[in-house]
Amino acid sequence: MNANDLFAADALRHSYLESTARARAHGMCDDNSFTEWLDPRARLTSPHLEALDVPVSFDDGIVIGEGRLKGEQIFVAAQEGRFMGGAVGEIHGAKLTGLLRRAVQEKPAAVLLLLETGGVRLHEANAGLVAISEIQRAVFDARHAKVPVVVLIGGGNGCYGGMGIVAPCCDAIVMSELARLSVSGPEVIETARGVEEFDAKDRALVWRTMGGKHRYLLGEIDRLVDDDLPSFKEAAATFLRRPVAFDLDAVVAEHARLAERIERFGACEDAVDIWAALGIAEPEQIPSLDLEQFQEAVARSRTGSVHETR
């Protein structure tokens, strides 16, 4: 028997986490419909990295372009988490900003942001920081233009730093439980405040504090999906041409939710305490549940507003 025949079925399980940014971008689009913009031949490598004798990449760590999803035109940007941790530099950021600005003009059915990043690329610190601010502004402009901006987070490095702030500025967030979303990373907190504040090596603690399941239960994200490309794609498709209201009523409602969160959970020591407060039976079991079991546990416990986002 040919080994590769045997695994044809297994290969259908394309892990999102294990895929490269380029493979993810292709994977979010209908077959062969993705066209990359400023592809590697453009050789847009960072002069700032070069000045520091650090290896560069032809795409500066981000793949952008357009494709079709369920037949509709979409724009896609995918950060490569394995290059510099997906960190945002000058070129990297400008590619993403340009894509969002183009969306304002062309009005695709959605812009998908496949984020995997530690935030600002320290080697080009100031340019990276402002790039994130420009991305944030461009996201808002796309939303004002009624183009849904959908964030997908499923990479091993999570989505941190300034981009962790940008993500909730978008229309919707889809995560897998292996993904993390936060502003400060555990190592940063441990370095600044000590291991008693946050033991970054305790991965179980890291994930229940910042991982996909907790973010879902907190109401910070819209969908929790399995770690495979088709699941992310299906989830993304549900937001096509469905911009979320972005006006005074929306932020006032969000304000009330966030105030309530501090009130209800502000004194909780650990995520498990929050889950218990949400009325989940056996909250300590949450991390070990598969997606289906997790959804059941959440449904059973739903005390009214377990899950509600922007």
């Binding site: 028997m1 080994a3 045997l6 695994f7 091993g156 991965r203 179980a204 994930w207 598969d290």
Partner: protein, 550 residues
């Protein structure tokens, strides 16, 4: 001449009695309070005693090691430490302070650099570096401990000990000590009314202390499938098809690196697709490494004996008593010595190394560290005393046999390495660093892990060299160069000779085995993450928190 009638034949027993009497001034009975332990040690120890501080791969008598490092060096000095694994800082503190002077050991791992420095300063005088079997063999010969510090999970008030799944070296240590009038002191994690099973009977144990905290234990054999590379997968495919399938290897021992983890994770996928289930990897001598779970669950591995356990696998092992050796209580009973023995007489050993020379000698020694041998040499050598036969053993023997010689089998000893290691260090070298280490420490031999004449196969990303088929030292050298890739050693190959070896099947490239390197992707792994392993185990495997990313 016959000794006279006045000769003392029970001096060891008298010494033991004297020591126990001195101990009686410190403690009543067997149970010792932690705060009395240093005083107790000062009472029972004497200068120049041979002492074992149980230091296995998994469990460590760390509290007792700490106590020993606190005794007064004026009273207790020049001890001779006989111990398998120097893993904790306290193990070397006793030398730094002059409490101990001489050392016979097997393995020093993380303490290798500090050890090397202490040897150079003259604070540690090395007797010899052993394999586990050698060292424990000498426990019953010329290195019997006078006092042994051991670690166990629990004890009852009589002193019966339950070791937990990491029984490891405890039986050998206690047997040697207790039956030569030595003194056995155990630290336990908990005192219980009844131990789950008796691993060490109470009358072999002199003192028990409940350690203020559970003994040191780390999941040192857990390999996260997420870190397995495509190159390791390619080599694993070659091993499965070019060695396991070819010889029909049913009994074997795996090293604990990522290379062998890759093999384990390809069994339910790639090996299954080759129709090899039931034909290879039936019986293994190896710790319950989590990466074995898919191969067990899919019906490849039928039986595993382990030298020690691995954190997180307790419930899984207990739920698979047909596979593992477990006690009436359900938990694993491991034993380093028996596992070494089983592995020694099995059909194949496969493991990795840091350097290989042109004769195929391999070493994990580097210039700055003194790490020792552990168990690999006993697994990784031909079993010259083997008399029973097996398909794999006979086939290897036939390949090696010269016309007219007495027919016999050969154990397959496989070294699996990438041609370049970390930081572009070439694995293949003209001269092992082991020679420099020998010079630096005045050793009598270079510390070779596996001797070239024991190695039968070298596997690299470039191919498999079957050294059994080499008929001269020159052929052997070219066979090794022929799989050494782009290292200087590999670039210096005689191309024609290498092609000839390839024609004869001495060297086999992936394409010769029908393997396309581009198919060596992580999609072939039965599990690509720790979480996948948990799923394979139906939730029975409980990974330590540092391995969780969910």
């Amino acid at each position: 001449m016959k000794r006279d009638a006045q000769w003392q034949w029970n001096s060891l027993a008298l010494s033991k009695t004297a020591r126990l009497e001195r101990a009686g001034m410190v403690v009543q009975g067997k149970l010792v309070a932690p705060e009395d332990m240093v005083r107790l040690l000062e009472a029972v120890l004497e200068p120049e005693d041979r002492v074992c501080i149980e230091g296995d791969n998994q469990k460590h008598a760390d509290f007792l090691a700490e106590c020993l490092a606190k005794v007064n060096p004026e009273r207790i000095h020049d001890l001779h430490i006989v111990q398998s694994n120097i893993a904790l800082p306290q193990h070397l503190d006793v030398f730094e302070k002059g409490i101990a002077r001489k050392l016979d050991f097997s393995y020093s791992g993380p303490q290798g650099v500090r050890m090397a420095n202490l040897v150079e300063q003259g604070k540690v005088k090395i007797g010899a570096i052993h394999t586990y079997l050698e060292l424990y063999g000498r426990y019953f010969c010329d290195l019997t401990p006078r006092v042994s510090f051991i670690a166990a999970q629990s004890a009852d008030r009589h002193g019966n000990l339950y070791t937990g799944p990491n029984t490891e070296d405890t039986p050998a240590i206690v047997e040697a000590t207790a039956f030569k009038n030595g003194i056995v002191i155990a630290q336990v994690n908990e005192m219980v009314d009844t131990v789950p099973r008796v691993d060490v009977p109470a009358d072999w144990v002199n003192f028990v202390v409940r350690s203020p905290r559970p003994h040191y234990i780390e999941p040192i054999f857990t390999r996260d499938p997420a870190a397995i590379t495509e190159i390791q997968i390619l080599m694993a495919m070659m091993v499965i098809k070019g060695i396991y399938a070819k010889y029909g290897v049913t009994r074997l021992n795996h090293g604990i690196g990522f290379d062998t983890a890759a093999i384990e994770l390809l069994l339910p996928t790639y090996a299954e697709s080759l129709g090899l289930r039931g034909k290879i990897c039936n019986y293994m001598s190896v710790n319950p490494c989590p990466t074995l779970i898919p191969a067990i669950e899919s019906g490849f591995i039928q039986s595993i004996h382990s030298a020690g356990s691995e954190l997180g696998t307790e419930n899984y092992v207990a739920a698979r008593p047909d596979i593992f050796y477990t006690g009436p209580d359900g938990s694993l009973r491991s034993n380093r010595i028996f596992c070494q023995l089983a592995g020694h007489y099995s059909d194949l050993f496969i493991g990795s190394t840091l350097q290989v020379d042109l004769q195929g000698n391999s070493s994990t020694a580097t210039k700055s560290r003194m790490t020792g041998f552990g168990g690999a040499p006993n697994f990784g050598c031909d079993s010259r005393a083997r008399r029973h036969t097996s398909e794999a053993w006979l086939k290897a023997g036939r390949e090696a046999s010269q016309t007219g010689a007495m027919p016999r089998g050969r154990k397959l000893v496989v070294q699996i390495v990438e041609t370049f290691g970390e930081k572009m260090q070439p694995t293949f070298v003209e001269r092992l660093d082991a020679w420099d280490l020998m010079d630096r420490f005045g050793m009598e031999l270079p510390p070779v892990m596996v001797y070239g004449d024991d190695v039968t196969h070298l596997v690299t990303e470039e191919g498999i060299a079957n050294l059994l088929l080499c008929r001269s030292p020159q052929e052997r050298e070219q066979a090794i160069r022929g799989v050494s890739g782009f290292t200087p050693v590999g670039l210096a190959r005689d191309r024609q000779a290498v092609e000839n070896l390839r024609d004869r099947g001495v060297i086999r490239r992936p394409e010769d085995l029908g393997i396309n390197p581009l198919h060596a992707t992580r999609d072939l792994l039965a599990a690509r993450s720790i979480k996948d392993l948990v799923q394979w185990s139906n939730g029975l495997y409980d990974p330590p928190k540092r391995f969780r990313n969910w």
